[in-house]
Amino acid sequence: MDHAMVKKRKRRPRKSKAEQRAKALRSIKDSKGSDVQTTVSRKAIATAASLIPNQNMVKNVQSKLGTKHERLKLKKAKSKTLAPNGHDTQHGNRVSSSTSPASLSTASSTLVPATCRVIEQKHAEEYILVIEHCQEVCFHGKALVSCLHGSVFIYGCTLHPGQKPLPVYAPRTHSALFITPLPHEEKEVVSEHVKQLLGKDIKEDTVVVLLQKLTCPMVDYVTSVKEYANVFYWENKSKDKEVERVMSLEDSKLLESIGFHVVDDLSSPRLFTPDPVRSALSDVLEQVELAVTKGTAAPVILLCGGKNAGKSTLARFLINLILSSCGEVYHLECDIGQTEFTPSGFVSLTHVNTPTVGPPFTHQKTPDRCCYYGHLSPGDDPDRYVRTVRYVHQGYRGDAPLIVNTMGWTQGMGLHLLMDTIHLVHPSHILQLKGRKSAQDLPQLSPEFLHTQPGWTYANIQGEKNKNDDDDDTVPVNPELVYLQVGNDMPRHTWFTASEFRSMALMATLRSLQPDRGVLPLNALTPRVVPWSAVAVHACNADVPPTQIMYVLNASLVALCQADDNELSRLRQRALPDGPVVLQDTPICQAVGIGVIRGIDMERRLFYLLTPVEEDRLPRVNVLLCGALSVPTPLMLQQTVEGPVPYVTSDFSPDGDIFGATPLRIRKNLQRERRQTGGTSGMGFASLNQQELT
């Protein structure tokens, strides 16, 4: 994401007092807002510009001038209506206002000594990274980062000396991350430790960072299987020259020994540059601070946009940003295909109080409220999807900001479901990400659009109401709409498929089953025993006849749920003779976690269950649901038994010449030779839906 450009649709009138207070707060809290820093920053711009012929970089550093300045300049620029490079004026202004063309033109490819150096503390364990001239360090890999002197900004997190070390993960499947040094606060005391390290060689803009080797049992378990072993592996190829601008090759080799790979920032697609997004979100952040200081209602921020626009990335960024001022935030996951803190297939509400820097499999958590939906697409049972979102959202008490991540499916039924989600969660802000590929995007949201576009269960045309609606849905939504134009689409993960990422997240969740040292195959772990009589069972994703339910459950991944008795008796289909109760539909209820049914004892009527759920939460579990989630393939293949492993075979080749042995393959890249004309599915669907309702 090169640059995020901003358009504001509507501003809500706000009390000027509150605004002033927020501004004041910002200038105190935010190290970049005050006038004093501006001079430092300007100097930084000059240096950076002369060092790196990279427009992004210059813009980035300069844009640290702070929101207030930014806005003033934006206004000025607008009056001039500069439009370089044929950008459309509204967007181009932003670029022109924040870059300095003069310094750019002079800063061509002159090589200067590296601006960073590395001091070894403990071989292959700990290294000190000394950064000067506000040089950004772009990296892949993983490390535990703490700041010893000055402060740095990583993916929404601001690190100061004395703070808890921050675990950061940038696998090669995702964008590289940046360590961005922030301008110094006034009169920073140089600690004894740093003095010892650097002697008197501390300049005004020196930043000292400690990088430690990062070991995390969860992530190590994921990378212990050969399929995912190379997620963090970074091949060193033809990047030396670019890296040398940042640090010497020897130094970069030292850092590689802990799995921290400095890379060329030109070749790696850029994540959100902090400040353009930050200023776009200034209003959000203001409200967050207001909520903290004045106890006003915490903002509810809903993220939406087409597939691959970067919603999850922005969600993590926003979480980190809000955490730095608020300390806690809730995250409501409505994108069941690519979930952040749980395995996929769940709608969840998670309380977050630690920064999240990395892909989902590096930070699986136990959510506060969570419900198993069982399919990977909401379209398989849209009514239940909406009810599931409503159920989970009811767990939000409004005591901290809420970030709502929505799905990238924004066409046809997807749009209706998004509308329902918006009406359910009542966002105070909607951040809409607009990717470059306009075909995949939803139309730009406007207040009119929000009021006229029907939802799936919620119809708001002419005040009409569906009988399914609860009362709280009737309150009209009136959010602040922020429209973020994304420069580039997020790169596609070419090494791994979405299903492999799901599998990685599952493995991370299952890690606590493993012994402290070493890795055991699933069939070598000791299971818990669950009598059939203790649970009701159901398969969410197919109409399985009760007689076949055991064939589904055996060696399957299940969600452990606790449904109340009313729900259970309502859905009770029939009890098999001496078998567990089979439900006829998926109950909407709290899920406490996942488990693997390792075996079924047909004589003693027992399930053998492996589950990472804590012991004290297990007694309440009364439903086992299986659905689209399955045991990660590497874990199935890991088993060794005498004779053939059940469900694992090499006799049934997927890629042999046998027709039809392969699953349904959806090829979206197939081209039509002749363009066909016709209405879009979205339109057709909308009218159909209206007909249904009337």
Partner: protein
């Protein structure tokens, strides 16, 4: 071969379900269908499409036979509502079958039309039009839908279940003998169908027929052809063998007279230097069958069969056999788009020439020299 995850716990479970799906026992079929749902739940989107198609077609088939039995029992005749539902269910299952089969083999940059893909997958054209009618036109009738389902199930068996069984190291056909008709039964069925084909075709081509009569027989002919097509899958050899017999491609004297093929002495007394030719009328008569053969790539086997049998024909029959061989092998790209020659010309490139010549030399007769010369 790399290991993978499947929905069945073991090879034997898969084989059992295969046997049950293709059995005649409703209880077994129902059991298999239930189990396939369990596989579907396990595999979710990773379900092999052939199993998916087989189970949905079999499910409708089972319901149909259930309705049929009820009707015969007299307790409750299937009402029109039930029958309509059956037609809907058949139509959907067949449309899905054709689409999934053709989609799965899209391997080009551009989308290929369904009928092109169908040809590649040896799906006859009438299956493609069945899909088209089911989705864009009025719902096809039950008899033709039944033929379609029968064909599709046989096709799936030939393309997926049997090859898969062999890949697992099992003997072909070892699975389900009971579901399959034996060779003699098939032969009788083919002969029966060919005879009715001849009857209808005779009426259609007869100059005495009225327009109304012609269209009536055309409809009946189409049904015969679709039944024949359904039988073709898996029984190609039998159909080809029947065609080469006297009374079909080799006409009896009565047939020659009835068709008005000038007189019995069709071919001028030849010394063997010139090859006999098949009358244009007789070509037109058999054209629908050749089209059918072409859809399942069966013309080369037919030719091979004719060549192999050269030694067994009586003198007068030999003229026809050689005539057909000559027609197939020398077919020119005729201007007449509807002519049989044009169709045969397309096949020519795929003929196994070397094998044919060896065969031909093994059964010498007076026409051998010019035949080999060609």
């Amino acid at each position: 071969m790399a290991a993978r995850i499947v929905g069945w716990a073991s090879k034997s479970e898969w084989i059992q379900i295969y046997q049950e799906l293709y059995s005649n026992d409703p209880v077994q079929i129902q059991h298999a269908l239930d189990r396939v749902v369990a596989w579907k739940s396990r595999l979710d989107t990773k379900m092999p499409i052939a199993i998916d198609c087989t189970s949905s077609l079999t499910a409708v088939w089972l319901r149909d036979s259930g309705a049929h039995v009820r009707g015969e029992g007299g307790s409750s005749a299937p009402n029109s509502h039930d029958l309509f539902q059956l037609r809907l269910a058949y139509s959907m299952a067949l449309a899905r079958f054709v689409n999934l089969v053709t989609d799965a083999s899209q391997d080009k940059f551009y989308i290929q039309p369904v009928h092109v893909m169908a040809k590649e997958m040896a799906l006859p054209e009438w299956m493609v039009s069945l899909r088209h009618e089911a989705t864009h036109r009025s719902l096809p009738s039950l008899p033709v839908l039944r033929s379609g389902a029968r064909f599709a199930l046989a096709w799936l068996r030939e393309k997926y279940w049997e090859p898969q069984l062999q890949q697992c190291g099992e003997l072909p056909g070892g699975a389900a003998e009971k579901g399959q008709l034996d060779v003699e039964e098939v032969r009788q069925a083919v002969v029966g169908l060919l005879i009715s084909f001849e009857q209808h075709q005779f009426e259609i081509l007869s100059e005495r027929s009225t327009k109304k009569k012609r269209s009536h027989h055309t409809t009946l002919l189409q049904e015969v052809l679709s039944n024949l097509a359904a039988l073709m899958a898996g029984n190609r050899e039998t159909v080809v063998a029947c065609l080469c017999r006297r009374g079909f491609l080799i006409p009896t004297p009565e047939q020659t007279t009835a068709l008005g093929l000038t007189n019995y002495d069709v071919f001028p007394e030849s010394d063997g230097s010139e090859l006999p030719q098949i009358d244009k009328k007789f070509q037109d008569f058999w054209k629908p069958i050749f089209e059918l053969l072409h859809q399942s790539n069966s013309i080369p086997p037919l030719l091979e069969r004719l060549v192999q049998q050269l030694g067994t024909y009586a003198e007068e029959d030999l003229e026809f056999a050689v005539g057909w061989i000559a027609l197939i092998t020398t077919a020119q790209n005729s201007q007449d788009k509807k002519s049989l020659e044009r169709l045969l010309h397309k096949v020519k490139v795929e003929l196994p020439w070397r094998r044919l010549i060896t065969c031909c030399l093994a059964t010498p007769n007076k026409h051998t020299t010019p035949l080999v010369h060609m």
